[in-house]
């Protein structure tokens, strides 16, 4: 009996769902723990609380220049600071789709479905380009 006649999800869809489930809750857990470390002052922030409050009502350009905040992947160098530690959870959530997509490529190739393998590969490449910061932004 095929998946369609049974109305069940395909094996690659189930694998995607499982990976998403564990990744999502891990990301949210990390996000909450790092936020508590930050707001409880267990690690000093790169941009002080009073300064953030002043800058968050201004355009992002002011935040970056006046707060001496790096753009792109510059946050990696500031992981020792309470505010930038929060990027661990955020980046895990933002990168989860890429991680979930990668196993789809061999799964579709195994099913002799090259079109969907190419679609999955193209999506991974697009998301990687977006994540890399290669394409520059015109932030005002």
């Amino acid at each position: 009996m095929s998946e369609k006649t049974k109305g069940t999800a395909s094996p690659e869809q189930i694998s995607y769902a499982n990976l998403l489930f564990y990744g999502c809750w891990t990301g949210l857990g990390i996000m909450i723990v790092t936020y508590l470390i930050y707001v409880l002052g267990l690690m000093s922030p790169h941009v002080s609380m009073d300064h953030v409050v002043q800058l968050w009502s201004r355009p992002v350009h002011d935040y970056l220049t006046q707060g001496n905040v790096p753009s792109g992947w510059g946050w990696v160098g500031l992981l020792g600071k309470g505010d930038f530690l929060n990027f661990l959870g955020i980046v895990l959530l933002a990168g989860l789709t890429i991680v979930c997509y990668i196993p789809l490529i061999p799964a579709y190739l195994k099913k002799k479905d090259p079109v969907f393998a190419i679609l999955a590969l193209a999506e991974v490449l697009i998301l990687l380009v977006a994540a890399s910061g290669i394409v520059g932004g015109g932030a005002h």
Partner: protein, 324 residues
């Protein structure tokens, strides 16, 4: 799975309480410092911690309303938070995308396993929408803030009208699948728990439907909105996917579309953790409670309430864009 979900509810409730108490306790223990900070920051006498706490509660309520009204969190979050909170639109859009992304990621596993979200339908659509969301994100960041505010206001008011007039169909009639849908094998089946029936589906008008996602992707990236309000009518009314598959696939799609735009905002420094994380956590907790209230709520009333809120916040964004 059920036990997992229940366990997660308890855990999230406990964590939210800890989060809230932690922030209050820290601030309470060092009140003088907080007061001095607030004075220095010029936030109307509010200490810095007040905003994250207010945001956490606000997003919790927003999460409940969003679920009851059947809309994504981002579409309510961006106009309301940019209109009534002191944050610049750049950061509101960055947080809005994370809010929509987290909600979609959390809903994804359940939808995929029940076959309400279909990978075969989502993959081609996602490729178009996510590429265009990157373009939209750059457009949104390159344009002057007042122009984006104006466009946002117009879009939000359009969404309100769309919600008011659109009549989705539970099971659209697709007599013959088109060539593109057939070539891509976009079809499937799911068990409908409400009727116990096996519902088989296929798409028609696949190419025009896919092309619509160019516009949807650009708008999602430009305004930092999840685009469920646009995904569902296109998948359901245009392409002929059953409503449950359209809603499920749309929610899952947001996890892909918003990922690409979220990276653009992230790389450009538009994510401030102090305000973004309470937004994400508050909205997720609200969504859990909203799902539980869904059975008792009167959807028609909530739907009209949300339409009213969208018209109001869209109007406010328009006025802000015009400089009032």
């Amino acid at each position: 799975m059920k036990r997992n979900v229940r366990w997660m509810h308890v855990l999230m409730g406990a964590v939210a309480t800890v989060l809230l108490l932690g922030v209050c306790a820290w601030a309470g223990g060092d009140g003088d410092v907080a007061a001095q900070m607030a004075e220095a920051a010029g936030t109307g006498g509010m200490p810095w911690w007040a905003w994250p706490v207010i945001l956490l509660f606000f997003c919790f309520i927003l999460g409940i309303i969003a679920v009851l009204a059947g809309v994504g969190g981002g579409v309510l979050y961006v106009p309301l938070v940019s209109g009534f909170f002191p944050f610049h639109l750049d950061f509101v859009r960055g947080a809005g995308l994370l809010v929509a992304l987290a909600g979609a990621l959390a809903a994804g596993p359940g939808l995929l396993k029940r076959n309400f979200a279909s990978l075969r339908l989502a993959l081609p659509v996602a490729l178009i929408a996510s590429s265009c969301a990157i373009v939209g994100a750059f457009l949104g960041m390159a344009l002057p803030t007042n122009i984006v505010q104006l466009c946002l206001g117009g879009t939000i008011m359009f969404i309100a009208i769309l919600l008011l007039v659109s009549k989705n169909t539970a099971h659209p009639v697709v007599t013959k699948q088109d060539a593109v849908g057939l070539a891509l094998g976009i079809n499937g089946a799911y068990h409908d728990p409400s009727t116990g029936e096996l519902v088989e589906w296929k798409t028609h008008r696949t190419l025009p439907g896919l092309l619509m996602f160019i516009i949807i992707g650009i708008m999602a990236g430009m305004f930092g909105l999840g685009a469920g309000w646009a995904n569902v009518p296109v998948l359901n009314l245009m392409m002929g996917a059953p409503l449950k598959v359209a809603v499920g696939t749309s929610k899952f799609l947001l996890s892909i579309t918003d990922t690409s735009a979220a990276w653009v905002y992230l790389n450009n420094g538009c994510v401030i953790p102090l305000m973004a994380i309470p937004s994400v956590v508050g909205l997720m907790l609200g969504s859990f409670v909203g799902v539980r209230l869904l059975a008792k709520a009167k959807p028609a009333f909530i739907r009209y309430m949300v339409i009213g809120v969208l018209l109001f916040s869209g109007g406010k964004a328009l006025l802000k864009g015009l400089g009032f």
